[in-house]
Symmetry: C2
Subunit: 205 residues, 2 copies
């Protein structure tokens, strides 16, 4: 029960607001109303105002929200004004694609280590990160206290890798493996499985 008062759904929407505000900023926009944001994002303006009001009053009545100011406020609420270290486990095709993805470091997430168990991949350097043997993972990650892990291993290995990472101080896991992981209370977990999304589609099609 951490930061109890604010609903999880609200926290999950803040990054979406940030994404849009970033775009507005690049376009040179100075201010934006909740109404306009709502249209862009396909939600109600009341929801946007309510969400923001959990953290204070960022707007000016009759005017709207200052784009840069709101953006900075939200970034600060989410602790995005720092570099977050990330460890990636599983350097198959998907893991390689994520290692090469510029979007992480551009948004302040730095993949600092990568591990695999395939001798053909161990030792290679991908996007500046040297791939190491997963058998060394505990030795190498435990001392560094890396807070976030990305899991791109086969389903069968995911739980074991998660356990090891958590043991070494990882506090949040982005899981691409198609399994439901068991993690202790207090460990954040998000699952990205495209098949689950597709299987939801097919109900409606």
């Amino acid at each position: 029960m951490e930061k109890t008062s604010i609903p999880k759904v609200v926290i999950a929407r803040l990054p979406v607001y940030i994404q849009k505000l970033n775009q507005l900023m690049r376009e040179g926009r100075e201010s934006v109303s909740s109404q306009e944001m709502a249209e862009y994002l396909g939600v109600t303006s009341a929801q946007i105002r309510k969400d923001l009001s959990f953290f204070g009053g960022f707007g000016k009545k009759g005017v709207g929200y200052d784009v840069i100011n709101l953006l900075e406020s939200l970034r600060s609420i989410l602790n995005l004004n720092q570099i977050w270290e990330v460890v990636l486990v599983g350097v198959g095709k998907l893991g390689q694609a994520l290692l090469s993805y510029q979007g992480f470091s551009r948004k302040g997430f730095e993949i600092v280590m990568a591990f695999d168990n395939d001798p053909n991949i161990i030792g290679q350097t991908i996007a500046g990160v040297k791939v190491r043997d997963v058998s060394e993972m505990q030795n190498l990650t435990c001392p560094r206290n890396i807070p976030i892990a990305i899991l791109t291993v086969p389903a069968g290995n995911a739980q074991e890798m998660a356990d090891q990472l958590i043991h070494c101080g990882v506090k949040a896991i982005l899981n691409y493996a198609p399994v439901t992981l068991k993690v202790p209370e207090g460990i954040r977990l998000a699952n990205i499985d495209p098949v689950l999304s597709l299987q939801t589609f097919t109900y409606y099609l």
Copy 2:
């Protein structure tokens, strides 16, 4: 307002149940209780029973649910007893990884066409799929009426590609681009942006 009565959250959980039931089946389990499923998935048993009860009574009181029977029932509810054709747009690193991913066809989703705008990639065959010029997309996809698209293009191109796909009859889009797309009523949309997940983590860390 299609199939109104059943909450979207319930539909979204069915694939997770299917995932676990598949695993139980592979392990040779014959039946399972809502209690046991709940423990595996980290939810309440009441939720599982309630979810299933929207579609009928699949269990036996005092016994639980027959694994194979429930699995088949859920697959049928989600229309998973058929092959679903998929078009993939954007064959960069991520697109290539998804093209090579066995999990889609294994679960009944067949990527039948792929498009890109990079001359170095157009013409290549990846995982049995020939990459075609995106300028031909409308000509090639419109007649085939493919229901599902996966978008792995840069943020700047995503909306334009979505519009074209929808124009050609696509009814559901799995969007990997880091933008909020605008789609007409009735088009299903799911977004997979790992950065949004990471940015939710950092609030709690």
